[in-house]
Symmetry: none
Subunit: 361 residues, 2 copies
Amino acid sequence: MDLTRELPLDQIMRGDSIELMRMLPPASVHCVFADPPYNLQLRGELRRPDDSLVDAVDEDWDRFADFAAYDEFTRAWLTECRRVLRKDGTLWVIGAYHNIFRIGAILQDLGFWILNDVIWRKSNPMPNFRGRRFTNAHETLIWAARGRDSRYKFNYQAMKALNDDLQMRSDWLLPLCTGAERIRNAHGLKLHPTQKPEALLHRVLLASTAPDDIVLDPFAGTGTTAAVARRLSRRYIAIERHPAYVEAALGRVRRVRPAPLDGASNTPTRREAARIPFGNLVEQGIVPPGTTVTDRQRRVAATVAADGTLVCGPLRGSIHKLGSEVQNAPSCNGWTFWHVERDGALVSLDTLRASMRTASD
Amino acid sequence: MDLTRELPLDQIMRGDSIELMRMLPPASVHCVFADPPYNLQLRGELRRPDDSLVDAVDEDWDRFADFAAYDEFTRAWLTECRRVLRKDGTLWVIGAYHNIFRIGAILQDLGFWILNDVIWRKSNPMPNFRGRRFTNAHETLIWAARGRDSRYKFNYQAMKALNDDLQMRSDWLLPLCTGAERIRNAHGLKLHPTQKPEALLHRVLLASTAPDDIVLDPFAGTGTTAAVARRLSRRYIAIERHPAYVEAALGRVRRVRPAPLDGASNTPTRREAARIPFGNLVEQGIVPPGTTVTDRQRRVAATVAADGTLVCGPLRGSIHKLGSEVQNAPSCNGWTFWHVERDGALVSLDTLRASMRTASD
DNA sequence: CCAAAACATGAATCGCAGG
DNA sequence: TCCTGCGATTCATGTTTTG
């Protein structure tokens, strides 16, 4: 397959992440989710990002060299991600205190624009056995747009719905990946040391992508991103170097059935709903010309003209313009500001529009 | 006073942080708490949905030319902190996604050894008014030892006691500094835009210092660190450049009486009610997207969408809203109304939620 | 005087489509 | 690419005003 001409959609490619990304065309994916290696100083031994062992020289220059090597690796894969990302695309990276600060600084240097840092609070973290620190009970995700001016996608209403109709916060409480979801080898041992829970990817993809969007995971591991993307009817491009992980991921993805269309959908943002000019309500007699509209407190009143403008003394304009003028406010959503009387009660224009929308479905 | 020979204990010094720290002798303080400028990079004004203006941080001290200038500043003050810190001392820095990644990377480069990153979860954050991002509901603290081999202080038992005899986690839920604690000027306006709550410093100092230890705050503001240090019978060295802040801090510290050292002054932790949105059951695969839910008599059916809403023909909404709509009832408890099939029998969502609760206990 | 409602505010990197 | 105009958007908490 010629990757420079055809995207390897819904595939899990085995190989080096940076090399393979270099073969992809620029501005081709909507979203990147990356869970990069961070095996810097976790064990007694030091490992480089490519998993090779560092001679145990415990001197200052060695520590510096080690950070420098990690930074170089980070800069390389983030550069490729940015090249491959569409102008309005976003990138997610997950990490912990060993590596996330370096990643965050480098992605800022590369021109990414951070939108949020998100805290995955683990409901069941591993305790700190030696009692020398706080229980390390979270990991950090960075969500960033390709650039400061990106018109990135954020499914605000879907996130709000997911959280009982309150704005979704930057701290997410989710359990670790355990039980049946955890992929194990023939001996019953976990195959991957840091397999991420599918619930985490569910929220990530639902927040920042639409169905059929293309999601790239350069460090795919056992294929959590690919599996969730498939279930939510997103396309994926997954890269993983370790053959055993690739094999597990292939089997895993094959077992996933995409949710039916309704299931993969989410609440559309208001802006995505069909636009209905106020004039339509006038034309269709829902708010006939000559109707009096007022604010909620009935402090100001205006008359509906046949062309859908409002008239109030010498003032005339759209529902928004007149709303802002009578309030002396810089702007106004006329749909929610103005009301008409129905059965003795005041009903907002927005309510009338909503009933018109469901009637036309 | 000759700072090179005598420590300015329990004083709030007015002046440039880096210059004054340079005059202090090396290895002289036990702990540093630093709340540096965040380099917020705001542009334009922001209005709430009610058109009121958000009072944003626009002080001179938070403006930097670019990332390079901010990094240089950061490297300079962190270098002095490290020089002044005792071998076994620790440093705390607080920041947000605008600056914390740069700070974390630089302090690693300087040889600090990160012990934890700690998340201050705000119980009452400002919402995201435009609905373009997740509510930015937390700030990040980095806790680091002077070096990898530091035998740093951690009051494990005190932290455990503060947390109902469970290990203290790396995520702390605390309210913002408001009400009587917030220092105001003669006009009743907040004096400092970013005054930190005393409860935060209480936990920081109780975790990582002993009575009579010396705590340095290079960006003291209105003296929160100094006030809490005094109440907990720690010594402090505070540096602040702005005369009005220094004046406020001096008066504030004077009013503090050291508490008896019996530990009775522990601030209690906030216990959270276990709120489980229906969306959690969807994310975690307990009720996967696409599942069909029905009422007990199977008279109406709906499909579960990925964001936790239910879809039924043209209707879409939360489990409660859709439940009331299909019944034509004013309200409905969706948890008990809707059921899914499990082993051929109908089980209410409420039952599934209950099993989820016990699993997480 | 009390209860209820209205108001105020917090480290904020806070539009978008169409012409 | 710039310009214009539509019209989307808030939670927890403390304080003040109103009935």
